[in-house]
């Protein structure tokens, strides 16, 4: 009964973690998940709030309005993505 939180690339380095698992009933939505990460991670959580960081829920990008509203459930995967570039 948990939500997986993933950090990629520069965020993984800044947060110092690749993945955190949180109890699903303690993070019912994204705002509560962010608040929980602020407590859990301390100062480095500020990197997650940078405007260039995008959030994906179950591998789909969320826009800011979406992110504020979305509820979370057991098995969900939340990923924090710094700016992407391929090729």
């Amino acid at each position: 009964m948990s939500v997986a939180v993933l950090f990629f690339a520069s965020l993984r380095e800044q947060v110092g973690r690749e993945q955190i698992s949180l109890p699903a009933d303690e993070v019912p939505d994204l705002p509560s998940l962010l608040a929980r990460l602020d407590r859990e991670l301390g100062d480095v959580a500020s990197h997650l709030h940078r405007p260039s960081v995008r959030v994906a829920l179950n591998q789909s990008l969320l826009d800011t309005d979406d992110a504020a509203r979305r509820s979370l459930k057991d098995g969900d995967e939340v990923a924090f993505l710094p700016p992407i570039t391929g090729g």
Partner: protein, 156 residues
């Protein structure tokens, strides 16, 4: 349209990839366009020791799939292939392979250019340049966004 997307650590063989497509599509295609991106030894004034690439398995493939969806809608193609490497690469190494096979050269050339342009801005990868004077995470350039914007306006 035949489509293939592969994310891999291993190097790719441009000759083998195009031979396979040619065998598969012999006589149907008149134009084959290929783009290969490679690691350069120099970034601005710094020597490049290497490049570290990472991806988000699943989401990265989806992001490339959406690029191919657009390509398929805009051009008449027989095949579109994207092979993208991850892991640590060195100067001279191949990073990405893009192939567009079509009846005619306009479709093939434009689709190939479109794919590499969109890979720069829309594909879920991260790149860390290992420079002689430290590492830095690469971001898309303003010119990359400008090129994608130009494609969107051409749409209309």
């Amino acid at each position: 349209m035949y489509r293939a997307v592969r994310i891999q650590h291993e190097d790719f063989d441009l000759g083998a990839e195009t031979e396979q497509l040619r065998a598969q599509l012999a006589g149907r295609i008149g134009a084959l366009s290929v783009f290969v991106g490679l690691v350069r030894e120099q970034f601005e004034d710094s020597a490049v020791n290497g490049l570290h690439l990472e991806h988000y398995p699943g989401m990265t493939e989806q992001s490339i799939g959406r690029i191919l969806d657009q390509v398929e809608q805009r051009w008449l193609l027989d095949a579109a292939v994207i092979v993208h490497r991850v892991g640590t690469l060195h100067p001279g190494d191949q990073i990405v392979l893009v192939i567009a096979a079509a009846g005619h050269r306009k479709d093939s050339l434009e689709a190939c250019t479109f794919m590499i342009d969109y890979l720069k801005t829309d594909a879920v990868f991260w790149k860390k340049e290992l420079l002689a004077d430290g590492a830095r995470w690469v971001e898309s350039f303003d010119t990359d966004y400008a090129r994608v914007k130009a494609w969107q306006q051409k749409d209309a």
